[in-house]
């Protein structure tokens, strides 16, 4: 199991590849293997050109990709992503979601915590809602339930679900 935190700490002085390798090493991967996996995953998340770039020079979107590469470099069965698209503009959010979709088969299960309920409808097999200490679970179609089509449908569904909990 691996975990991508909401805030990706940029370790100053390290390059992108070095940080991914270091994070993998911190999670128990051997030194040489972590370097090999870092090279692989940095390319796969689309940061091949920035591999030797210093961490402090990265944008928010690039930092997310570094976090994802660090999480996946441990070859996890379960990947937990905490607010992976928080703070990104809609274009970057879309790209990031597309990237996760393209990597879907690399991990057994993805557990993604998000406040962006629009993601839930399109991308996931199962939805868990936590509110006021209670849990609701179901499929995306259960989640949307009887909420009629229209603008902000996912948001309105969220209100309905939490009201019934």
């Amino acid at each position: 199991m691996s975990y991508m935190p909401q805030v990706i700490p940029a370790l100053r002085g390290l390059t992108v590849e070095e940080q991914v390798a270091y994070c993998a090493w911190l999670q128990g991967v051997s030194s040489s293997e972590s370097r090999r996996r870092a090279r692989l995953w940095v390319k796969r998340v689309g940061l091949g050109d920035a591999a030797r770039q210093k961490m402090r020079t990265l944008s928010g979107g690039q930092l997310r990709r570094v976090g994802l590469a660090s999480a996946l470099a441990t070859s996890p069965q379960v990947a937990i992503l905490d607010e992976p698209t928080a703070g990104l503009d809609p274009t970057q959010q879309m790209r990031f979601r597309d990237m996760i979709k393209s990597l879907e088969s690399e991990v057994g299960s993805w557990l993604i915590a998000t406040h962006d309920v629009n993601e839930i409808v399109d991308d996931f097999d199962q939805v868990l809602v936590l509110a006021s200490g209670r849990v609701w679970s179901g499929s995306p179609s259960d989640y949307l339930g009887s909420v009629p089509e229209g603008p902000m449908r996912a948001h309105r569904a969220f209100i309905e679900v939490t009201r019934g909990m």
């Binding site: 691996s2 975990y3 935190p5 805030v7 700490p9 940029a10 370790l11 100053r12 002085g13 390290l14 390059t15 070095e18 390798a21 994070c23 090493w25 911190l26 999670q27 128990g28 030194s31 370097r35 660090s70 999480a71």
Partner: protein
């Protein structure tokens, strides 16, 4: 690549060449291995702030690992980086000692204590880097050791100076730093290291009770080790030394005298020919030259004579030896008769004896300002050789009961 990355990013590594360069400029041969090692502890004033700052910067840069998913503990995560930095600083310290004195068991004590102090300051710097804002931690790491070292050296109570492990001005070739003090100071710095390591480990622990327990234990351990170290340092004055007891290297010379020197001065034995010629000349004149010259003898007794050798000036070896012989006439407590009765007359003719001995063999002399005496004690040495020898022998034996 990982090692290159560590090397590229370790502040301590980049500071080390400056330390080595500085040391190479000021390095001079020490009087003894222990003296050289003790003198090198003065470099702690330079090394410790640099190491502490390097560790604080490193912790600040890697503060993010506290929030990263980890299976490896915080010490394991950061140790490779610190090892490079600390290793470089310790290696530079050992190199500096080696530049001043040959390898000897006698310098291991001060060097071990110095290494412990360096590691302790590194850990303190690392802890500050994690716990404090950079704007506070960095100046603290630079100024903390500096203030502590200079302040401890300035106050009249020597115990605090000994605790810092900085012993500049120590030791002559006949002295070593007291092992009891070295042990106590090692315990003190070792405790600081352990407390800092425990505190770093606790950074990973979120349980309040564990943090309180470790904090209380750390305070108790520091109090106990400080009290122990201060009590061990209490009997010593400015120089925390005891007599050096390691074996000397001895050789029988053609003149019949036996010369014993400290191992680091063994070269003297090979180059004793000119000096031995002088001894034979003094023998032939009838001067009561001692049968044993022992560099390590501290007191005048029997045939044992303290001899001053200075390997830096071999051309003045005869003069040095004459100074050592003449020291026998330095009657600090007054002249005694063979029966042990104290006479009020003359106390020190060593300068005259030394000058006379050197003049007899035509050797170059050096000014031994420490052997000057009041004009009232001066007596002319007769020009008649037999009378002169009789007077010299009288002076040389005057102090002995």
């Amino acid at each position: 690549m990982r090692y290159l990355e560590i090397l590229r990013n370790s502040p301590s590594v980049w500071l080390t060449p400056l330390v080595v360069l500085f040391a190479l400029v000021v390095a001079e041969p020490g009087p003894s291995p222990s003296g050289a090692a003790a003198a090198m502890t003065s470099f702690l004033i330079l090394l410790c702030p640099l190491v502490a700052l390097g560790a604080a910067v490193e912790s600040w840069r890697f503060r993010g690992i506290l929030h990263l998913p980890r299976k490896r503990g915080i010490l394991t995560a950061l140790l490779p980086r610190w090892v490079v930095g600390i290793g470089a600083c310790v290696a530079s310290l050992v190199l500096l000692v080696l530049l001043r004195a040959p390898i000897s068991v006698e310098w291991t004590g001060p060097v071990v204590v110095s290494c412990l102090a360096i590691v302790a300051w590194c850990l303190i710097g690392a802890l500050s880097g994690f716990l404090l804002p950079a704007v506070v931690a960095w100046p603290l790491c630079i100024m903390g050791p500096l203030v502590l070292f200079t302040r401890a050296a300035a106050i009249p109570d020597n115990r605090w100076r000994h605790l810092t492990a900085v012993w500049f001005g120590c030791c002559s070739s006949n002295e070593v730093i007291a092992p009891s003090l070295l042990t106590a100071v090692a315990v003190f710095w070792g405790t600081i290291c352990l407390v800092a390591i425990a505190s770093l480990i606790v950074l990973d622990c979120r349980r309040r009770t564990v943090q309180v327990l470790v904090g209380a234990s750390a305070a108790a351990a520091i109090w106990a080790s400080t009290t122990y170290a201060l009590s061990a340092a209490a009997p010593f004055g400015y120089a925390p030394t005891v007599a050096r007891s390691s074996p000397r290297v001895c050789a029988q010379q053609p003149s019949g005298v036996r010369v014993c020197v400290w191992p680091e001065d063994a070269a003297i034995l090979r180059d004793f020919t000119a000096t031995d010629r002088a001894v034979r000349s003094w023998h032939s004149l009838g001067v009561k030259v001692p049968e044993v010259f022992d560099e390590g003898a501290l007191e005048v007794s029997g045939t044992i004579t303290p001899v001053q050798f200075d390997t830096r000036y071999p051309e003045y070896a005869v003069s040095s030896l004459a100074t050592g012989i003449a020291k026998r006439s330095d009657c600090q407590g007054g002249v005694r008769t063979p029966e042990g009765e104290l006479l009020p007359d003359g106390v020190d003719h060593s300068q005259q004896i030394k000058d006379w001995l050197v003049a007899q063999v035509g050797a170059p002399t050096i000014d031994s300002s420490g052997l000057g005496q009041a004009p009232g004690n001066q007596r002319e040495i007769p020009s008649d050789p037999s009378q002169a020898v009789a007077l010299i022998n009288e002076w040389l034996t005057a102090c002995r009961p």
